[in-house]
Symmetry: C2
Subunit: 426 residues, 2 copies
């Protein structure tokens, strides 16, 4: 794979190949410093290394080849868990999560978006304006969602750069709101049908539901092994596994995750860990962590703790609930999909007590010694909810720390000090 | 009036009377420095002075007396134009806008709400925690609304301090969203009926619709006079008129606004202005300006310009559209109310092109030389939308300035410099 020159492919996508070479080199170095320095990784995490090696190259070529061969119809990008990948896959579309985990082309971004905007939102606009994300460039359609104030308004600008479909996501959990979200899932299905020219059938949708559920079951198996002490696998590798789930081929990745779960189950039986028994255990909760935002997990684990769970969109929210497979008609299946996604406890909802229950439950099940709750800077929703989260942790008697950070490395020193103090205390 | 000692009333409301004395003195000084120093005010603005003199005293006593006498049922507070006052008044409730225009008890607030929160949201929580707002303390029910991320999450905390009803407001203008808002207006009506014990009747609702429409018509008349050069009345006095509309008795205030409109119409005929003919004319657009946030208008008008219109919630959005009076049944009238309020072009909506049209239309009708667009600090929605607003102004060939500010006076010097430069340029 490493022999192939992907520059012609990137050029054909209209990318800024020179800038992109710089980005890839930087991400490679970050991957080295965060992942490859880890000791006692399960051997099966090799697969994750190959995902990262191919993330902007082989995987993109594979998707383009599938479109060329007609085994896939269109590439549909998105930024959020409320966009159900099953619907895209049912029309033989490829569902991908778009780049939003690093600062890029900030000068250009701030001509369209305020300086005081969360780094994730600035990032995806920067990747687009800087033309360095092959997922954005190869997407035939981008599906946005009205979730937070920042994203919903930023999509008004992003929509001038790419063909978009916007899903309107409710803020409350009521029957009316669920009905409205069900309608939104139907409207997405219609748009995907239009875009792909493929009618979504019972067979196609059922297969997609099963396929994604299989991926979730594999992630659940892997996650369950992390309750053991010593933890068989690092938080970094588990975070990367879910990050990969937004980009990689689902069948191949599911097999790889099951192989990782097999190995981790053996490790648990054998008492083998990625860190010594008795290592302090941290549950992460908060804003999502898109590739290559590995900073916080790296700081926590290099400070001598191990992350044993992630209550976030790049964690348990992605895999903890399956879509009910009992739907028979397309309508029934779309409803089951809508219900499953609507159950996600994002901070956009008010109230959002379900998240507090999820976090405390995970902390207990995974025997976490403390909770690290992180909001990306200027994320009003998670910042606001951190007060409720702290209260819930205090009531449960679990040490809690809130962190506000961004994609830069400017606060690394300060964060390290705070994290070390927290780990010593728990 | 000035002879009456209101301390026993404030004490009976559970207020911190000592701190409140300090607040009233500060607001009195601000009123002096912003309003009473103005030259050539219309004589009929006397009424506004009496509104401010009685704002925390005589008006509160009047509301409590009306409840005592049974002419009013309950006092219902709110923070947003999407809460229809007609519904409250139809049950003989008194609808009031709650205090949110000054920093207060910030230390206490930041135990529950992030530092990086817009000043308006911090303010209403501070007024509550500091017990210095007689409107909050006398309210039997507070109606919140899921509009921006900050407010919807802050209400989770505020709801631990006061009995609350939350309206869920849509983010998009679609048939489904309008249906959902219609339902929300019905749910508000049910809650108001429960709270007041009064069944909302056709007669009651029709009378409330007409009463509020009369207030709007009076404000429309006053607003129309400001198209003249010289402008007959200052932006400060017009802002205060709308601020008063959230707190004062509606019948009495409507008569006073009509008297102001009469005088301003005479002034226009006679060529009399609050500032000389040829004074630079500014249209304001942006976040709302609750009492006593008079800073920006004071800076603009003391820098030698005159504000001739306000496209905001404490401005034209409050009065530009009437509720259609043709509804016959309660259901029809509630639908007409919902439709009227749903038409408001707040930045919570995406897209929100209607606001751009409103602003450009007002700038042309009122012969504005420039547009000042202001976002309260950390207001993602208006900050985001300022980019679209700037573009619309540029396309219309109207000079535009964006300001981000808060309730402090720390940026007064810097703002004065920027505003003076803008006025010289337009």
């Amino acid at each position: 794979m490493a022999e192939v020159d992907y520059h012609p492919m990137w050029e054909s996508l209209g990318m800024d190949v020179e800038a992109h070479d710089g980005l890839l080199a930087a991400v490679g170095q970050m991957f080295q410093d965060s992942f490859l320095v880890q000791e006692n990784r399960p051997a099966s995490t090799d697969y994750l290394d190959s995902v990262v090696a191919n993330i902007h190259s082989g995987r993109i070529q594979e998707m383009l080849d599938q479109k060329e061969a007609g085994t896939a119809t269109k590439i549909v990008g998105s930024f959020c868990l409320y966009v159900p990948e099953e619907v895209i896959m049912a029309a033989r579309g490829i569902s991908v999560g778009l780049c939003s985990g690093a600062d890029w082309a900030t000068d250009k971004v701030e001509k369209h978006i305020p300086h005081n905007t969360c780094p994730l939102i600035k990032s995806f606009n920067g990747f687009k304006l800087g033309r360095v994300c092959p997922y954005i460039e190869s997407s035939d359609l981008v599906v946005g969602e009205n979730t937070c104030d920042g994203k919903k308004k930023a999509y008004e600008f992003f929509g001038t750069q790419k063909p978009m479909h916007i899903m309107d996501v409710p803020n409350v959990k009521t029957d009316t709101a669920l009905a409205s979200y069900r309608e939104q899932v139907r409207l997405l299905a219609q748009r995907v049908e239009q875009e792909t020219g493929v009618k979504i059938t019972e067979e196609g949708l059922r297969a997609a539901i099963r396929l994604v559920n299989e991926k979730r079951r594999a992630l659940q198996r892997l996650s369950a092994t992390r309750a053991a002490d010593p933890a068989p696998i690092s938080g970094l590798d588990c975070l990367l596994t879910v990050q990969a789930a937004f980009m990689d081929d689902p069948v191949r990745l599911t097999a790889a995750i099951n192989a990782m779960a097999d190995e981790c189950e053996r490790r648990v039986r054998d008492g083998v860990g990625v860190a010594p028994k008795g290592t302090k255990r941290v549950l992460y909760t908060g804003t999502p962590m898109p590739v290559p935002f590995w900073k916080l997990f790296t700081l926590i684990e290099q400070a001598g703790a191990v992350v044993v769970g992630e209550e976030c969109c790049t964690g348990s929210r992605y895999y903890k609930d399956l879509v009910d497979e009992s739907g028979e008609t397309v309508d029934e299946m779309l409803d089951r999909i809508a219900e499953r996604y609507y159950d996600i406890n994002c901070a956009i909802f008010t109230p959002n007590e379900g998240r507090m229950k999820d976090v405390i439950g995970m902390a207990k099940n995974l025997h976490a010694d403390g909770i690290v709750d992180c909001s990306l800077q200027f994320c009003t929703l998670y910042d606001m909810e951190s007060f409720t989260m702290r209260k819930a942790a205090e009531e449960a008697g679990i040490p809690y720390m809130h962190i506000s950070t961004d994609y830069s490395n400017e606060d690394t020193g300060q964060l390290t000090t705070r994290i070390q103090a927290f780990i010593e205390m728990i």
